[in-house]
């Protein structure tokens, strides 16, 4: 029987996370909790470290400071064996799909099953078809990944990510670069997968409309910190200046249109003076 304490606890807890790449600070004292069984979207401008956040949660990167717990386990402190055991319960959908190019669609979905289970071939075959049917690509099982469109590749990657029935799935920019029909298919798949499998979904995205429509919780990050967080409707109602600019896509506001620097007038005059020299 499920432990109610575990059921109510957040799936992912991030506390005082600091992470830098070279001299650039990506996260500066970032904290957030991601509830179990819901769809949570982390939104922020390009370059705000959304993908880096997923890699930190997946244990591919280690925080400089602060801690990240997934399912009660502190990711950075796990031994390789326990980290891999945790990853078996975690699916990740990469922006590009990241399908293995030397394997067919069928073998891509079968890959985690072949690596981690000893299922008889007929059971494995049935399971893979089940996963492919769920994303609508059962008939595409013999295709080569190179021949798939971006949207199809992402759907195959989703089938692969759910092959081991994970309880957490991480989506890296799932809506980027898709036509409206494919976008609709991916949106409905994410929602349906979340409901039917009862898993926790974490998306990073900057596609406001889709993310707001699909999410139970939204976390806005900028400059390495959480700017605002809450259910989408609440967030829209009480949006700060920055959040309003981001959510409504206004070109100028707290985030200026112009890259910060000397004033236009000074620059023009300064240029004139140098030419006289």
């Amino acid at each position: 029987m499920a432990d109610p304490a575990v059921e109510d606890s957040p799936h992912i807890v991030i506390e005082n996370l600091c992470f830098r790449r070279g001299r650039k600070m990506i996260f500066d004292d970032l904290s957030m909790r991601i509830p179990r069984g819901q769809v949570t979207t982390v939104m922020g401008p390009s370059g705000s470290g959304k993908t880096t956040l997923l890699r930190l949660v997946g244990g591919q990167l280690r925080p400089d400071k602060g801690r990240i717990w997934v399912d009660g386990q502190e990711v950075a402190r796990l031994s390789t064996r326990r980290l891999y055991a945790l990853r078996k319960r975690m699916g990740m959908l990469f922006q590009s799909g990241a399908l293995l190019t030397d394997l067919s669609v069928f073998e891509n979905v079968a890959f985690p099953l072949r690596e981690h289970t000893d299922l008889p071939e007929d059971v494995l075959h049935a399971l893979v078809l089940l996963k492919l049917e769920a994303v609508g690509l059962r008939a595409a099982r013999d295709l080569d990944p190179a021949t798939l469109s971006g949207g199809m590749a992402r759907r195959v990657a989703l089938a692969r990510a759910i092959a081991l029935d994970p309880d957490l799935i991480l989506y890296d920019e799932p809506f980027t670069g898709l036509d409206p029909i494919t976008m609709g298919q991916i949106v409905s798949l994410i929602r349906r997968t979340n409901q039917s499998l009862g898993l926790t979904s974490v998306l990073v995205s900057h596609d406001v409309t889709e993310a707001m429509a699909i999410s139970d919780q939204v976390v806005l990050i900028a400059d390495g910190r959480v700017v605002d967080a809450g259910p989408p409707d609440e967030l829209e109602a009480r949006a700060s200046d920055w959040s309003a600019q981001f959510l409504q896509g206004r070109p100028d506001g707290p985030v200026p249109f112009h890259y910060p620097g000397a004033s236009y007038r000074d620059d023009l005059l300064g240029q004139g003076e140098r030419r006289d020299d």
Binding site: G58, Q60, A85, R87, F94, S96, L100, T101, F111, P112
Partner: protein, 260 residues
């Protein structure tokens, strides 16, 4: 002045860092070798890809090198009335030196660059990352089988190179220049020593196989995930492993034959 000293220091530190990373990479790969015994099929696929697919270039090159050796050897030997010694000259040159060295250089160009490009592209398209997130260790699943395949294929390719070279020498020496067929092979048999010549060639090709495949796989793993990065890594594989083969050949030859 200070700038150039600083630049020299920076270059040295960078080179040492890369060497350190390559060494850690090698240790991790060697620690994952159990996969080769548990799932030999993974290695076998790679033996086909790096070994069997290199056969054509190895066979053609071996044939021509053997034929040229026979021509050159004959021109010199016939002046001393020793044209019958041609078989020995061709076989010794091939087994001791040209077999292992030319095979390693061709292998670096054909299979090494392909390995680097493949792994670099897998890194760029996040396939290695995806594998890690599926709890599959790329050192076991990807790097170790490729490394062992290269390491196994090289001595076999070098042996084929030398054998085809001997046949090339026979075609020119016996077929074209009129050396006696029996003398060609009997000379070869009498001057070629198993331990000193054949085994030393095999040891060389094992060492070259180890180094070339290590460099190729590491360069792929270490490539910058951009198209320019892959192109640079592929070039590095060919340049660095060719230089390593030539340098190591000098050292190994010194060690094997220098004392005698």
């Amino acid at each position: 002045m200070t700038d150039s000293i600083a630049a020299l220091g920076r270059t040295t530190i960078n080179a040492l860092t890369v060497f350190g990373r390559a060494f850690i990479f090698l240790i991790r790969m060697l620690a994952s070798l159990d996969i080769v015994f548990r799932r030999f099929g993974l290695t076998l696929v790679q033996v086909y890809s790096v070994g069997v697919r290199s056969l054509l270039i190895i066979v053609v090159s071996g044939l021509f090198v053997g034929m040229v050796l026979a021509y050159q050897g004959y021109i010199t030997l016939v002046n001393f009335g020793a044209a019958e010694a041609l078989g020995g000259v061709v076989a010794l040159s091939l087994v001791r030196e040209l077999g292992p060295v030319v095979t390693a250089l061709l292998f670096a160009g054909r299979a090494g660059s392909a390995l680097t490009a493949e792994l670099g592209l897998m890194k760029t398209t996040e396939q290695l990352s995806a594998m890690e997130m599926m709890a599959v260790n790329p050192y076991r699943r990807i790097f170790a089988p490729r490394f062992v395949a290269g390491f196994l294929s090289m001595p076999l390719l070098a042996a084929i190179f030398s054998a085809v070279g001997v046949m090339g020498g026979y075609l020119v020496g016996v077929g074209l220049l009129g050396v006696d067929s029996g003398a060609y092979f009997s000379q070869m048999q009498s001057v070629t020593d198993w331990n000193e010549d054949v085994l030393s060639g095999v040891i060389k090709s094992i060492v070259f196989g180890f180094v070339v495949t290590w460099i190729a796989v590491f360069q792929g793993f270490n490539a910058q995930p951009t198209s320019e990065g892959i192109s640079r890594a592929t070039t590095q594989t060919v340049v660095v492993s060719s230089l390593a083969v030539l340098g190591l050949d000098f050292i190994l030859t010194g060690l094997m034959f220098g004392a005698g």
